[in-house]
């Protein structure tokens, strides 16, 4: 077993730092076991309206209210004596982006000044009633790659004025606008794009707060709320000064490359600020293609320092995961660092959750959106995975307390290097699979499925997987329980790039139109009562009534049903 303890120190530090405040819920020792599931059936009513969600929770029509966001909802839920709220740090980042291609934002002094007038505490307290965490680095606190030791820009308008004065932006007392030293003219009007008040009142208000603070120190900044697609369109062609948006990030900080590498400063690239910095490029390349974890961590730390100096973004806050549970109805929900207790990435809750009165039975689990098409090839939203994630299963699992990798469908693995061609180095990942794992229709799960999935996704250029699989050269299956994936480049992340949930070969090999395939609408060719949504996971899709509910039932042949008796 080669589970890596790559994050214990930082993660623990963090939890300690916030322990007294945030995590009363985690005072309870998290109890979980890698076996399950413990309920027979999960009914997932689809309730989109947030008020209706609250009422459903109050009435016990759902045992969970996942991902509480609105302060009002949190206040409401916390008054409910039957509610238990779990809190976990998340991988969420809300930021203010600068367009560094345009003056005067090309001057770091101006960006720093804006950073200094950004009052995170006020934003968080007034707009979010204190339920967010201030974010001062480019990797959220929950991540093992978070570097707290980066240059900080605390709220300090005096400091901001000083920086601007020093950089030569003299204040014209008559107009209250500073003069651009390069042109000798007053600074041009700059706009902060925000979503509209309707869509995101807090973002719009936050844009207004920053703009007003900037105006007070002589930077002519105006907020401009606009429709989301219009805003995206403008960002896409780099027609903006500043904008505020959020990212939902992941455990691996490879996004630092996607966001800030100079090669991504192209059409459809995510390097919207347009930062091009050779030193930064080197650092984020090392984050993207690290030979091992230590390199990755060091490079990520360095990248965060450079980013904090150059300031393409002002990072504002990070949203912790707050999930409310009906503790009088269920128990066994497992809080997980970075993912929260209710999210689909957290398979432990799926396995461990049970009714208070005992194992078995039905629980009701809120689905805040339509699960859409339930086709793994195109399933791009979290809501689809809220369902699919409980049907599918991965090669690797993640320890909820430490975020270590744990063997799952793969009982072990090796990450090595190989030579795609003489003189070049690539990565070779070998998976050793558990024996006796079966698809929900009874077919055995083998390395052929892995090979099929990777080749199928690559052959069809399935957009969701293009980035991950672009370096795959070939897949070998020396025996049904060993799969070797060859990559043309060296990166430790390739371990994760081929560790998804897989497609059952016996179903998918006949699928020609992967885009239009709606597996839940097609009955299983052999087994009655099943659809073509087939996984190896703990639950089986029984029924999906669009607009109403999804019904999942326990997989009776799940390979992790009960611990082996000794």
């Amino acid at each position: 077993m080669r589970a890596r303890k790559f994050l214990v120190p930082v993660a623990l530090l963090l939890v300690l730092a916030l322990a007294t405040t945030i995590v009363s819920a985690q005072e309870k020792k998290v109890k979980w076991e890698p076996w399950g599931p413990r309920v027979d059936q999960i009914i997932m009513p689809i309730i989109k309206d947030s008020e209706a969600q609250l009422i459903a929770f109050e009435r016990g029509e759902t045992v969970v209210l996942p991902g509480l966001v609105r302060p009002g909802d949190i206040n409401k839920v916390k008054q409910n004596p039957n509610a238990d709220i779990t809190v976990n740090l998340g991988f969420h980042m809300f930021y203010l982006c600068f367009n560094m291609r345009r003056g005067p934002l090309d001057d770091v002094a101006v960006r720093q000044a804006v950073a200094h007038v950004t009052n995170r505490e006020q934003i968080i307290n007034q707009l979010f009633q204190g339920y967010m965490l201030p974010l001062t680095s480019f990797v959220p606190q929950s991540s093992p790659f978070h570097n707290p030791n980066v240059p900080q820009y605390p709220y300090n308008p005096e400091k901001a004025k000083e920086i601007l004065d020093k950089a030569g932006y003299k204040l014209d007392k008559a107009t209250g606008v500073r003069i651009d030293p390069k042109t000798g003219k007053p600074l041009r009007k700059m706009k902060i794009f925000t979503p509209t008040y309707e869509v995101a009142p807090t973002s719009a208000e936050l844009g207004k707060m920053i703009a007003e603070a900037a105006k007070a120190i002589g930077l002519p900044v105006e907020p401009e709320p606009m429709d989301f697609p219009v805003m995206l369109e403008k960002i896409d062609v780099f027609d903006f000064d500043m904008y505020v948006l959020a990212w939902g990030l992941g455990r691996i900080p490879d996004y630092l490359y996607t966001f800030f590498h100079s090669s991504q400063d192209v059409e459809a690239g995510y390097n919207t600020p347009g930062i091009r910095d050779p030193e930064l490029d080197k650092a984020v390349e090392a984050v993207y293609y690290p030979p091992d974890l230590e390199t990755a961590k060091a490079a990520a730390a360095k990248a965060q320092v450079i980013l904090s100096q150059k300031l393409p973004y002002v990072t504002l806050y990070s949203r912790p995961y707050m999930d409310a549970w009906r503790k009088d109805l269920v128990t066994g929900y497992v809080p997980m660092l970075g993912y929260g207790a209710a999210q689909y990435n957290n398979g432990w809750t799926t396995l461990n959750i049970r009714r208070v009165q005992g194992p078995g039975g039905t629980i009701r689990w809120l689905l805040p959106e339509e699960p859409k098409n339930l086709n793994m090839c195109v399933a791009s939203s979290a809501y689809e995975w809220e369902v699919l994630g409980r049907i599918a299963d991965g090669l690797i699992a993640v320890n909820p307390e430490t975020l270590e990798d744990m063997p799952w469908l793969a009982k072990s693995w090796k990450v090595e290097t190989w030579e795609p061609e003489p003189g070049k180095k690539g990565t070779k990942v070998t998976w050793f699979l558990e024996k006796g794992v079966k698809w929900q229709d009874g077919e055995p799960f083998t390395s052929a499925d892995i090979k099929f999935t990777i080749e199928y996704l690559k052959k069809n250029e399935v957009p969701l997987y293009i980035s991950d699989l672009q370096d795959v050269v070939k897949v070998e299956t020396p025996d049904p329980y060993t799969a070797i994936v060859y990559f043309s480049t060296v990166s430790y992340w390739h371990l994760y790039h081929a560790a998804y949930s897989f497609l059952p070969k016996h179903i998918w090999e006949d699928v020609k139109d992967w885009k239009g395939f709606q597996p839940w609408l097609e009955p299983h060719p052999k087994v009655k009562g099943l659809t073509k949504v087939i996984g190896t996971g703990p639950f089986i899709l029984k029924e999906y009534k669009p607009g109403e509910y999804v019904r999942l039932i326990k997989n009776p042949i799940y390979w992790r049903l009960n611990p082996p008796k000794k």
């Binding site: 996607t258 939203s381 669009p546």
Partner: protein, 327 residues
């Protein structure tokens, strides 16, 4: 003008409207900002992946070819694929249509039946409370915004006195047994349909009352009374029967209003129907979906307008027999 000429004219006319709407539908959605790729913002996406996604929905043909393809595929009810769900819009609409029809027909039938009955009653009881009530209700419900009334009902009966469900078309999951299932559906139907009935019946009753009064003031009604016909006979056989053509026509003419009202009702009561689909799609900039939903709604409206013309032709002897031919 014989009935056949009349019919052909109406058909041609409906087709022209359909064509105009299709063209509008095509033009507007081609001009709007945003595309499929905007629906997915994922930091893992490389520029290549985003481009691939764009291509998947990409429209590379020249506009006229696109237009031709659009028209032909619409006629085959191929409405494209939703940006948001990546499912065929046609099958998503097909899932929702029955819900909309159920809501719509219930509300519609009840509104018409109750509205007509109350209107007739008020017309024959002039100067009584019933008449005041109908006039008042008609005016008030004309002025009150439907959505406001629905929000009030929802707050009162969904949130305050929690006797009705606040979302959806059925319990999740519905109870076993056909009868219980039916009751469950009815339970979910009461607020959305009922609110429409309450809002709708007032002006309907008022209209019925007015036309009935007009009819009752007609000379042929006095003739009928003079003939010594029983009251009932006069009311139904003469007055109601003679206002039937305008009423039936108006029933069909009010169909479009109720179809479009479904957008708001379904949004408020989280009713899994076509109207809400349109609304969601518009708000999410899911153009194929919005286009499809709009197409369906427009089709329903055109058909009901056509039906109104048809029924008018059938009910009114002046058209049915071919007015003027024998004179």
């Amino acid at each position: 003008m014989g009935f056949r000429t009349y019919l052909i004219r109406r058909i041609v006319y409906a087709l022209i409207v359909l064509f105009v709407i299709l063209t509008f539908n095509f033009a507007v959605f081609r001009l709007m900002p945003g595309d499929a790729e905007k629906m997915i913002i994922d930091p893992r996406f490389s520029p290549e992946a985003r481009m691939a996604l764009r291509k998947q929905f990409g429209l590379d043909d020249p506009p006229l070819v696109q237009y031709w393809k659009y028209i032909t595929s619409l006629l085959r009810f191929d409405l494209g694929q939703s940006f948001a769900t990546r499912r065929p819009v046609a099958s998503e609409l097909a899932e929702r249509l029955p819900n909309t029809i159920v809501l719509f027909l219930t509300a519609f039938t009840l509104t018409m039946v109750i509205g007509t009955a109350v209107g007739v009653y008020a017309a024959q009881h002039r100067g009584t409370f019933a008449e005041t009530f109908v006039t008042g209700a008609g005016l008030f419900t004309y002025a009150v915004p439907t959505f406001f009334f629905q929000l009030l009902l929802l707050m009162l009966f969904g949130y305050y006195i929690r006797i009705f469900p606040i979302h959806g078309t059925m319990s999740a999951p519905p109870p076993d047994g056909a009868f219980l299932r039916f009751l469950d559906r009815v339970h979910h139907l009461i607020l959305p349909a009922g609110s429409n009935v309450i809002i709708g019946f007032g002006s309907w009753a008022l209209y019925t009352r007015n036309t009935m009064l007009e009819a009752l003031g007609q000379d042929y009604i006095i003739t009928a009374r003079a003939k010594g016909l029983p009251r009932r006979e006069i009311l139904y056989h003469h007055a109601l029967r003679s206002v039937l053509p305008p009423i039936v026509t108006l029933i069909f003419l009010s169909l479009p209003g109720m179809v479009t009202g479904a957008v708001i009702t379904e949004t408020i009561f989280s009713w899994h129907g076509v109207g809400r689909y349109l609304m969601d799609a518009v708000l999410q900039q899911d153009y194929p979906a919005a286009q499809g939903a709009f197409y369906l709604i427009a089709l329903a409206v055109i058909i009901s307008n056509f039906m109104a013309d048809l029924v008018y032709g059938l009910v009114d002897p002046r058209i049915r027999v071919g007015a003027g031919e024998r004179r």
